[in-house]
Symmetry: none
Subunit: 438 residues, 2 copies
């Protein structure tokens, strides 16, 4: 039960448009038990489109194509499918498609070009498009079902659900069930080591890991009868979660902010934030979570040092002595935010986002402090990080590390092991010996 996806368009191979259809179709086919074993993108070139259909159809049950069905001269999917399904024969006019086009343009003049959209190869059927002018096409190459859908995502998705999904071959209720489990705080190799034999290939359930933005994800894939596959995938995902504690923050669409927020909400606690180098990145990640107002009060973006002093009461002498990017300043920012914002917990971030260093402080140096109600500034938990990467990467990891610190604190696992990127000051020299994994 293998399938393939074919995306057609100059704008795609030139990199001017991101292909979001392919990911949507991949997931939609997997849900219905069809594993996409190839995706291909070709330009508006009749011969290349035809060759792609023929090659992809080989050994597969379905090929779903998008694009190239518009009314202009560079829309060549109809012609290419003619070359494949009825070589040498002209396209025929589909009268139902003409009628549908006339209904679409009711009253208005239909541009002549649009009539070309009602053409189809003789052996294929036209598929009604209820939300646009381009009809789709359905047919077969050998034993493989072929569907061609228009490129605009709203039209493609609607027509997939209307025409493709009901016609897909079903393998006796077989399904591909995919689960994903996420962690932040250790590197991919360490995460994989913890999974051990779970990752061995060849079992009934396949587990792979990927890393994106520092988040390691285990992708669990079970194939088989729908119910059994679901059970197997869930059992393996649970085992992954267990082995990845305390760094694992959830499955599927879970986020660090959502996971930490749910824990805050459960205990009726609220959070405030104070950000320097991240400039609102942390606040934005928090407010991304619907209902964040139940546990997030707000915060400060104290980018200028004068605002750190004026708005959060950070001691100017402290900044002069240690620099704005320092442990004492991070602690005072957190304490000041807690005092002025009135929450139960406060996260503060100060660091050098880069690209260059700030004085003696290298790009990527970041301090994150976590203060709690009833504690003093000096009792705030503070971690030092040395992140690599560009301005965006440093700020992203700073915000994620802050949220993971909060989550670990709420779990009572605050001092487990060094977090990724964490650097521990060598006590005597104040040097930076990296201890955290990356």
């Amino acid at each position: 039960m293998d399938g393939a996806i074919l995306s057609i368009g100059d704008e795609l191979v030139l990199g001017q448009t991101a292909d979001t259809n392919a990911a949507w179709l991949s997931a939609a086919l997997a849900e219905r038990g069809i594993l996409v074993t190839e995706r291909r993108t070709v330009p508006d070139d009749r011969a290349r489109i035809a060759a792609a259909f023929e090659e992809l159809a080989h050994g597969r049950v379905v090929v779903v194509a998008t694009g190239g069905l518009g009314p202009t001269a560079d829309d060549l999917t109809r012609d290419a499918l003619g070359d494949v399904t009825a070589p040498g024969a002209p396209l025929v006019t589909d009268e139902d498609a003409v009628a549908a086009l006339r209904r679409w343009f009711r009253g208005r003049t239909m541009p002549a070009g649009n009539l070309a959209q009602a053409q189809r190869p003789a052996p294929m059927r036209a598929l009604v498009n209820p939300v646009g002018t381009a009809p789709g096409l359905a047919g077969a190459v050998g034993a493989c079902a072929i569907f061609a859908l228009p490129g605009p995502p709203a039209e493609m998705e609607r027509m997939f659900l209307d025409h493709v999904a009901p016609a897909l071959p079903r393998d006796g209720g077989a399904a591909i069930v995919a689960e994903s489990v996420h962690l932040y705080g250790i590197g991919e190799s360490h995460a994989a080591e913890r999974l051990g034999s779970i990752m061995d290939r060849g079992g009934e359930v396949r587990v792979g890991t990927t890393v994106s933005g520092g988040i390691v994800t285990a992708r669990v894939l079970a194939r088989g009868a729908a119910e059994a596959a679901r059970r197997q995938a869930a059992a393996v995902a649970e085992e992954v979660e267990r082995r990845w504690q305390p760094w694992c923050f959830g499955r599927g669409n879970a986020t660090l902010a959502g996971a930490a927020g749910a824990m805050l909400e459960a205990r009726g606690a609220t959070l405030v934030t104070a950000e320097s180098c991240t400039g609102g990145w942390l606040g934005r990640a928090i407010v991304d979570v619907p209902g964040a107002s139940r546990w997030y009060r707000g915060g400060w973006i104290v980018y200028a040092n004068e605002l750190k002093e004026r708005l959060l009461g950070v001691d100017a002498a402290l900044i002069a002595r240690h620099g704005a990017v320092s442990e004492p300043v991070a602690r005072e920012m957190a304490a000041g935010a807690l005092e002025r914002g009135g929450g139960d917990l406060a996260l503060a971030i100060t660091g050098v986002a880069g690209p260059g260093p700030e004085g003696t402080k290298p790009a990527g140096l970041v301090y994150v402090a976590l203060a709690r109600r009833g504690g003093s500034a000096s009792s705030a938990e503070c971690r030092r990080f040395g992140f690599r990467g560009d301005r965006g990467a440093v700020r992203d990891r700073a915000a994620k590390s802050a949220l993971q610190m909060l989550r670990l604190h709420l779990l009572g696992a605050g001092s487990a092991e060094p977090m990724i990127g964490e650097t521990i000051a060598a006590a005597a020299q104040g040097g930076e010996s990296a201890r955290g994994g990356r």
Copy 2:
């Protein structure tokens, strides 16, 4: 001078991850005169990866692959390339790559899995990865150059620039020159109408428009001798900029925040922000701009109403009477931020991000106010918007509208025409008759 791109990973064919690398690489190759005539995506399957390299190499000058170079058992690009370039032979250990890995982990224990990353097919070279653990691979299949790069975008992009770009074949100075010009504030159809005959296909320079996140981009494409193509593309891009005033904010990597920031910096002015529903989105977009500290002081995230009062001095009675999402509150937030933050200009945003309404206020209703030093709260410029889309889209458009308001103010074009999504209250009833285009 045809090329191909191969993306490798189960997460891609399953639709769990969007493939942003392929679009980046397509554009990067086009810039260097190589037209990508196929993009292909295959799962973590050794035989399929090997077959894809062989097929894509046929008749092309270069294949660039991403993914499958990680340290875990499902990373099979090295093995597959061995099957293609040295069938039957084992992989060899690249001592330089081992040394680079040891440097990467300096002091820390290197997980055993990472050593696998230093393996390569005997006929290929390992490529140094300065920003991650996975070395790349370079070699050839027949006359076609083959490059395999790691999947994380930051690593892929850096390694493409370091290793692939300098080694690409050049066709006597021929180039495909792409320019892009961006605007925010009017819809794609209006933007295209302003371009008129510039968009006719068949000329030597092709111009198309796309829209993403509300930003309309004109993509200008010229092919030919490098110098002539560059000149032609630049002349057309300039004409697009001219026709798109005052909404056009730049070309290429330009951002709204960067454009507004450059204008602030030129006149030595500084900005403060006060955000409610955007929760730091605006601040983050501003701090994304390197050197933003020269014109951005900082701001507040006043998510809870109590913080709007306590930190910005918004009158509690005003919130009670008009609601937190209202024009008077937006104006007071801006005025309060200016007074307490000490900048020359202040932007304030309050709105309903959704997904649901807040009381009588529908999701998507957003007020943006702009206050300037020396003005009163009531003199602040304020615009009302009704954005469609989910929580993320509403907040994104709110932040972009705020930055465009600032830019238009600095241009002296503040009241040109309604911005996209802008709704003008019918004077008498206080109803919401949409006037802005969408």
